[in-house]
């Protein structure tokens, strides 16, 4: 959901969390085992007593939630430190954990990064607080991302079931049908580009988050993680489906070589030169603020299928609130995380444009019937909610996904700038990930 530039920062953050964090965690090894169950009464007592909870999160809707929470529990102070970029956020978090100082009580952690922090015991296990009971509240994709068997490492804040956003004006102008399968998508890409050479069906300059989501939808399961045993394998049928299709778009230069989240990208979405965007359901909020000029032009559609009639979907982005192991005020922190992500905070956040991970909200009539003014009055949530229901829940990210994503452009990225094929790119991504995993002490197949 947020793009990852500063590879250097990543590297350094990782270096510090893995090299120094290892020692930090060594000391707290015993903590999780003597963690006592925390009853609802304990939490209520803590709320009555009050205190300060430091939250590192960039999610803008949390501001209102924090204000509501403080109004409800006047003795509690929520100190919301609004970091606004993923790289900086994880650098700061990893550094604080390494230094064992200044660790926040709650941190926003994206799904792909949960494994990394939970494995190094950087996160508090939440089942003693009763988090396990919340499993039914969430859609399977996000819940699977924050939990590992009985263990829960965070509460899902939002989700990103994928949909295809398309510029209806552009498609109508050239009288091209909106693709429902990826084969049709490739055809549409050709037709669009032929009708107007300035128009590309999509932008893609090599993006790890997007590629993994596409693999997810195509049924590929490249990562298997069992504790410290990890397997990386991009040779399954699903991966082949993705590379075969996407390679055509690359070979015929049908993708705009524009990085997401840049001003060029916003420009392309606004002026019709980027005609579609396969992305998470949180995207409408960004259309509204980032592409105001194209209001009314865009619509949402279900993700194109890999085989006709197949409804499989995938997640793209999404994040949770987790409690770093070294944070304080655990009871209060948990109370706030639950309030924001499973309790009264959820409707507040949905009202402000967040896309929920909770089934109750996703299924509610009010949610499904919301008309998106930006999408010309379309009830886009119906598409998103159906997509959420069709997300396969057996996807896993690597415990060092942050690193793996950071080397995506050096490996798979070559397919975008040279004749190296996507499949070969994935293979070299696999090799580099395996090598790194082994260096970090994982058992890698």
């Amino acid at each position: 959901m947020r793009r990852t530039h500063g590879r250097l920062l990543r590297g350094i953050a990782l270096l510090s969390v893995l090299a120094l964090g290892a020692t930090a965690c060594g000391g707290s090894d015993g903590d999780s085992s003597d963690q006592k169950p925390v009853s609802a009464e304990d939490i209520q007592a803590a709320l009555k007593k009050g205190g300060t909870v430091t939250v590192w999160a960039w999610e803008p809707t949390l501001e209102k939630v924090a204000a509501d929470f403080q109004a409800k529990y006047p003795k509690v102070e929520i100190d919301l430190v609004g970091e606004r970029s993923g790289d900086k956020h994880y650098t700061a978090l990893s550094n604080a954990i390494s230094a064992e100082k200044g660790v926040p009580d709650i941190a926003q952690v994206e799904y792909f990064a949960v494994g990394q922090y939970s494995l190094t015991k950087g996160l508090t296990e939440l089942s003693p607080f009763g988090a396990g009971k919340l499993a039914d509240k969430y859609t399977p994709g996000p819940w699977n991302a924050v939990s590992d068997g009985d263990k829960v490492y965070g509460l899902p804040m939002d989700s990103g079931p994928m949909a295809l956003f398309y510029n209806k004006k552009v498609f109508d102008k050239h009288k091209i049908a909106v693709p429902t399968t990826w084969d049709e998508y490739v055809d549409a890409a050709r037709e669009l580009h032929k009708a107007d050479p300035k128009v590309f069906i999509a932008n893609d300059a090599g993006d790890a988050g997007f590629a993994t989501s596409m693999l997810w939808q195509a049924g590929s399961r490249p990562y298997t993680v069992d504790g410290t045993k990890v397997k990386v394998d991009f040779s399954d049928a699903g991966a082949k489906k993705y590379t075969d299709t996407w390679q055509q778009l690359l070979d015929e230069k049908l993708l705009a070589p524009v990085n997401g989240w840049t001003d060029d990208w916003y420009k392309g979405l606004g002026d019709g030169t980027i005609a579609t965007l396969a992305s998470g359901a949180w995207m409408p909020a960004n259309f509204v603020t980032g592409v105001p000029k194209a209001a009314g032009d865009w619509r949402a559609a279900p993700m194109p299928a890999w085989t006709e009639g197949d409804k499989s979907s995938a997640e793209n982005g999404g994040s949770s609130l987790a409690l770093p192991a070294l944070g304080k005020n655990k009871e209060l922190a948990y109370a706030f995380a639950e309030y924001a992500n499973a309790g009264d905070g959820v409707p507040t956040r949905v009202e402000q444009g967040a896309f929920p991970a909770t089934t109750a909200e996703l299924r509610s009539e009010k949610f499904r019937d919301t008309e998106f003014e930006y999408f010309g009055g379309q009830k886009a949530n119906e598409i998103f909610a159906d997509s959420a229901a069709n997300v396969a829940d057996d996807w896993a990210y690597l415990p060092f996904q942050q690193y793996a994503n950071s080397i995506f452009n050096d490996t798979v990225g070559k397919a975008y700038v040279s004749d190296t094929g996507l499949a070969a790119g994935l293979k070299s991504w696999q090799d580099a990930s395996v090598k790194y995993g082994k260096e970090q002490g994982f058992t890698v197949e």
């Binding site: 947020r2 510090s16 999610e59 430190v81 606004r84 550094n95």
Partner: protein, 328 residues
Amino acid sequence: MTSTGSTSSAGSPATAASPSGHPSGSVHAADAGKDAPRLRTPRRHTPGRPGRSVPLTVLTGLVLLYTLVPLAWLVISATKTQEGLADSSGLWFGDDFALWDNIGQTFTYDDGIFLRWLLNTLLYVVLGAGGATFLAILGGYALAKFDFPGKRAVFAVVIGAVAVPGTALAVPTFLMFSKMGLTDSPWAVIIPSLVSPFGLYLMWVFATEAIPVELLEAARIDGAGEARTFFRVALPLLAPGIVTVLLFTTVATWNNYFLPLIMLKDPDWYPLTLGLSSWNSQAETIGGDVIFNLVITGSLLTIVPLIGAFLLLQKYWQSGLAAGSVKE
């Protein structure tokens, strides 16, 4: 950039008397300085009228263009609204002229946090760059004018330190400061900024050249203490070098990004670089406000003081560059 180059041939430069033979003030210290008659016919150009070379002029023109185009882009883009940025070509004005509006918004957006960042940056520059310059002067003077054991080792360390990128030290520095409980405070930015190996090296070289030892000896014979000698005799002679070092450390502190990035969490203590970057990354956040126009206007405002500093100090800087190149 250092001021010594051409004089090193004159043996121990500080003590060497004027080489005999050529009149003082000759501009050709480097090549015409040798008194031997030249056998080659002189080249066409004379000091008064430099020769013209078409390819060189073209090349210089290209370099100039390459240097100025981004600046032009910045200035032009700062006149556009967020929507105008997406609509118009980068290198020409759009239909809207929103510069004043943008500047106003930059200073008022998010409760005027931009002004706070500007003041933070000034604080870091005054204390960090000012302190770094002061320490470099003291150290450079001491290394140039006093003999003590281990001087060569210090030299090696300083030269080595020039080669270590600050980025490589940031994380260890962070851990150290964290243990001391100084992270997330302005001190975490100011204290590391106080060390400028390059500034020290520059001051050292400059002090070697610019202060005649005889002058110091004369001052001592007249009864001045070391402190008095330094402040009354040496310091005025060092002025051009000081300005140069100050300029370097100021630019380095003003543009410092990585150190504050690692050290600071609280946006209230951000310098401009970090603040603008956080505005920029709002575009990458779900539901975040996309304010490229303010990022661009903010960037423009951020470089204005630096340009001002260069323009104000350039004559000192230039004389600093030339000092020592001519023997008098």
